[in-house]
């Protein structure tokens, strides 16, 4: 026939085009993104917050923090020098820093110029409110061997402001500068640690970067250990690498196991090696899905690949629709079997698409990507199954073993027996089981589920946080104002409240622009205090300091030039503050206040309440809340898509039939949900996703049974094979070490089991006695007549 020749050719051309597209997309390495966080919703927040988040997040992602430790301080420094040299040589880092700059005169100048602004809050208030005490203390410091040390000579700074300003520059008390080498040192009881900061190159598209950086770190660790030292490392890039490595490993392991299982199953069922060609739609599905995602999103996420790989299970189902009919036909022919099952196949595709596409409307890019991946993959697999495969199977003689048919008949007989003998126990028992299970469900939505367990990395990060006393967080404040002055005033108001948290040990520290440059009001107050200070000089005069010198210093402070924020930020001393200034925009100016240490969100929110233009941005907290919201919206979308499927199925099956077909997978999903409850497993966004998937796949089985081409037992074999293949691919995700994915795998496994068990109820009317075999043409006419 004409179509039997043109269809494979057309498909061949399409496949070739797809291969070309894929080859072009992969021309410069795999376009795979590893960061699971990249999949988080981004379309709900305004641009300024997003830009601010990038500012805060970027260094967290790019910065690598290393601590090189050794019992001997000198060894530690030498070792660090060698390791830093190696890292620089590797060319994988844009900067590697382990010692502070050598030029003190520049720092002295800047300290002198900024000493009023940099003064810690407590000192400012002492100067303003208790000038007597301030002068008294200063006079004490002059004689004290261990107090009042400063980089700046005494005669340039009689009031000792620069020494105090220095503490603002380096608030992290654990890290000290070694004056000999300039190294940043931390001492714990047993070791001296040298701090090394390295910035990996910020090229987000270079997928190889995390692996290279991790290899560099591993090499440095060996080097340290060989010298009797120790190396700790922490950084977003290391987590990215671990995630990437784990994803790759799981894809190859679980995917490989699935493929082996599938091949074994196919060979067992059909006893023909050529049947293995029915794996072809899987390849086409993965290719089409990946290409579509890269086309749509620019790249594909590792998580999409892992979850999307489970599409194998659905893609492989399509050929089963007609292959399994060989149990019904004496003379199985590929094209006629395909044509006989085409309506069912097409319905399956349409319902699957409706099920997946619903996911595209959740705000989670993760789910959107999976929807796009799956939709494209399914269409590819469907086309492959109807256009190419029948040509491949042409002339193939299928004489399958009868064991599966016997099994199916046995199962159907058992079902009939159950219905007859235990009708009421089932009608009462199943709902009770479901209610009992659902009552025990608890939801859990935590971003940490997205990340695999990396205890080794987490322990190092924890140790580094302990040693350095630094713990950068993703929480921060965004402060908006009309102009620079207003911004500084608003940040100063916020600083006052944060100072209270710091002094209560509820917050480790913070950085704010008003630490560098004073808002007018504060500066006026300080100026007034300085003008009144000469009345309190006596203790300093007693020490022998000339009154003229003191008065000259006050004069100097009062007439210091007042640089703009931009000018100050250019100075080297202001480097840590630079990312905090967001600059001018159409609506005014904005700046950030970054935080150090984990603090209860409620406390931080309290600190912002009532302050105009101040907003706490807590991405993690918001995300966890959003997870819950998404669950609800995803479930709602699913119900809507079910309604659409009912409408679609009304055409072939009528309203009653359509409702029956749709309600079975829903019931399977509910039972699976109940099982989660009984098993004590949490309900997460991912289990909800799994349940949604189950309703999509379950409808497949119901349609297969409803169509009943070739008889009930033959259709049950088809369903069984489909369910087994699906389970081989989805169910194996159970063994993923990422909690989110394992949870998904469990949910899908349970759902598949119940979908299979419930599927015979899709057959219209009273269950009939299982037929040994039926003629396929007869079955078709029956179907057409009904």
């Amino acid at each position: 026939m004409q179509t039997e020749r043109t269809l494979p050719r057309l498909f061949g051309i399409g496949l070739l085009a797809l291969l070309c597209l894929a080859a072009w997309q992969w021309r410069s390495g795999p376009p795979v993104a590893a960061s699971l966080l990249a999949l988080l919703p981004s379309n709900q927040i305004d641009g300024e917050i997003r830009a601010a988040e990038q500012r805060i997040q970027e260094p967290l992602n790019r910065e690598l923090l290393l601590l090189v430790g050794h019992r001997e301080r000198r060894e530690a420094i030498q070792l660090t020098q060698a390791i830093a040299g190696q890292l620089r040589k590797s060319q994988h880092f844009s900067a590697v820093q382990w010692s502070v700059r050598n030029d003190l005169s520049d720092l002295r100048q800047q300290l002198l110029a900024q000493r009023l602004a940099l003064l810690p809050a407590a000192e400012k208030s002492l100067l303003i409110n208790q000038p007597d005490e301030f002068v008294q203390r200063r006079s004490g410091e002059l004689f004290d061997t261990f107090a009042g040390f400063s980089l700046v000579p005494l005669e340039q700074d009689w009031l000792g402001l620069t020494a105090k300003a220095q503490t603002t520059l380096n608030p992290h008390s654990n890290v000290q500068v070694d004056l000999g080498s300039g190294a940043l040192l931390i001492n714990d009881n047993a070791k001296t640690w040298v701090l090394v900061r390295a910035q990996s190159h910020g090229d987000a598209f270079d997928m190889q970067a995390p692996a290279k950086v991790a290899a560099d770190v591993a090499k440095a660790r060996e080097q340290a250990q060989a010298a009797g030292g120790q190396l700790l490392a922490s950084g977003g890039v290391l987590y990215a690498n671990a995630g990437q490595a784990q994803a790759t490993q799981e894809i190859s392991l679980l995917g490989g196991a699935a493929i082996v299982g599938l091949i074994a199953l196919l060979l067992f069922a059909y006893r023909r090696t050529r049947v293995l060609l029915s794996l072809l739609p899987v390849a086409v599905a993965l290719l089409a899905g990946t290409s579509a995602c890269v086309l749509w999103f620019g790249q594909i996420n590792a998580l999409t690949l892992i979850l999307g790989a489970s599409l194998i299970g659905v893609a492989i189902d399509y050929p089963q629709h007609y292959l399994s009919k060989c149990w019904a036909q004496q003379q199985w022919q590929s094209w006629s079997a395909m044509r006989a099952t085409l309506p069912g196949l097409t319905l399956s595709l349409a319902t699957n698409l409706l099920g997946y596409v619903a996911l595209a409307f959740t705000p989670f890019q993760a789910l959107t990507q999976i929807a796009v991946f799956s939709a494209a993959g399914l269409i590819g697999a469907y086309l492959c199954a109807i256009c190419l495969l029948p040509a491949c199977f042409k002339g193939m003689q299928l004489q399958p073993g009868r064991s599966l048919l016997n099994l199916a008949n046995g199962l159907l007989a058992a079902r009939l027996w159950c219905i007859k003998k235990a009708r009421w126990p089932m009608i009462i028992g199943v709902p009770l089981f479901c209610l009992g299970g659902i009552a025990q469900l608890h939801t859990q939505n935590d971003l940490r589920q997205w990340l695999g367990k990396e205890p080794e990395l987490a322990a190092q990060a924890q140790r580094i946080a302990e040693l350095t006393g630094q713990q950068p967080t993703s929480q921060f404040y965004l402060v908006r104002a009309a102009d620079e002055q207003q911004l500084l005033a608003r940040q100063a108001a916020l600083s006052e409240r944060l100072d209270a948290l710091v002094s209560n040990n509820q917050l480790r520290g913070y950085r704010s622009l008003n630490q560098l440059i004073l808002p007018d009001e504060q500066l006026d107050n300080l100026h007034k205090a300085l003008q009144a200070l000469p009345q309190h000089w006596q203790p300093l005069l007693d020490a022998g300091i000339a009154e003229a010198a003191l008065n000259a210093e006050v004069e100097g402070l009062l007439h210091q030039p007042r640089p703009s924020l931009d000018e100050i930020l250019e100075q080297t001393l202001a480097e840590p503050w630079r990312p905090l200034w967001m600059g001018k925009s159409a609506s005014g100016v904005s700046g950030l206040v970054s935080l150090d240490g984990q603090t209860a969100t409620a406390l931080l929110e309290d600190a912002a309440t009532g302050l105009e233009g101040v907003e706490l941005v807590d991405r993690l907290g918001e995300l966890n809340a959003l997870f819950t919201e998404t669950q609800i919206s995803a479930a709602t979308l699913k119900l809507i898509s079910c309604a659409a499927i009912v409408v679609l199925l009304c055409i072939p099956f009528g309203l009653r039939g359509a409702l029956r077909v749709v309600s079975l997978p829903l019931l399977a999903a509910i039972t699976a949900l109940a099982c989660l409850g009984w098993l004590g497993q949490p309900l997460t966004l991912f289990s909800v996703f799994g349940l949604l998937l189950i309703t999509a796949i379950g409808i497949d089985y119901a349609i297969l049974m409803r169509e009943s081409v070739g008889g009930e037992a033959v259709s049950l074999i088809g369903t069984l094979l489909s369910a087994l293949t699906s389970w081989l691919s989805f169910g194996l995700l159970l063994f993923s070490s990422t909690p989110a994915i394992a949870n998904f795998g469990l949910t899908v496994s349970l759902g598949l089991l119940f979908s299979f068990i419930y599927s015979p109820w899709a057959t219209p009317g009273q269950p009939s006695a299982p037929s040994q075999s039926a003629d396929i043409n007869q079955a078709r006419t029956q179907h057409a007549a009904s």
């Binding site: 000198r74 004689f143 261990f146 009042g148 980089l151 000579p153 001492n187």
Partner: protein, 201 residues
């Protein structure tokens, strides 16, 4: 960061200073200074500033114990006790000893100093070139910083002594200098009860 810290550490480190070699060489000096378990005595600290006619002078007492650390008791014009040991530097307050936050080089430098006390001179030799002149009865040790950072703070440090260290003088790069005189130090074999208590808690 801390000029004064380094200064003090160097001074005190030199009290028991450590070996290098010559006719009367650094090894001899190290042995000479290191044989005393406890050294105590008064100190006078003078800060000579270019901008001031007379120096800023403070006085007090010190106790140096080879195996425990240092007590530094400032008496006039202000009274303040310090203790330097393996935990870092602590200040005596109404509530007892309070370890000072190391937001300066204090803790680090005090550790360096204690390392010196224990005869571990690697730290000092890494940062300074040492030069010894004179005899065991009258010697001068000059420390010149090697590191660029240190050179911007000290031009050199001079230590003079006989059986014990008598005088330490730090010459700052910017022209000021600090002189620490230890005019009447006494060596001894044991701490007094009060001193032991001060080191203990």
């Amino acid at each position: 960061m801390s000029r004064f810290y380094l200064r003090v550490v160097c001074m005190l480190g030199c009290l028991l200073l450590t070996p290098l070699a010559q006719a009367f060489d650094l090894n001899d000096l190290s042995r000479q200074l290191g044989k005393h378990l406890v050294v105590r005595g008064p100190f006078v600290q003078e800060k000579h500033l270019r901008a001031m006619a007379r120096p800023l002078t403070s006085r007090g007492l010190f106790v140096l114990a080879a195996d425990t650390g240092l007590l530094w008791q400032l008496k006039t014009p202000i009274a303040q006790d310090y203790r330097i040991n393996a935990d870092g530097i602590a200040k005596r307050t109404a509530n007892g000893w309070q370890v000072q936050p190391g937001n300066n080089a204090a803790a680090q430098q005090s550790r360096l100093f204690l390392a010196l006390l224990r005869g571990d001179r690697t730290g000092l030799e890494a940062d300074f070139t040492l030069q010894l002149e004179g005899t065991s009865d009258e010697w001068t040790l000059t420390l010149t910083p090697r590191a660029l950072l240190l050179q911007q703070i000290f031009s050199h440090i001079e230590i003079q002594g006989a059986t014990l260290v008598q005088r330490i003088e730090l010459f700052e790069t910017q022209g000021d200098r600090t002189l620490l005189k230890l005019p009447d130090s006494q060596a001894s074999d044991a701490l007094t009860a009060a001193e032991r208590d001060a080191f203990a808690d």
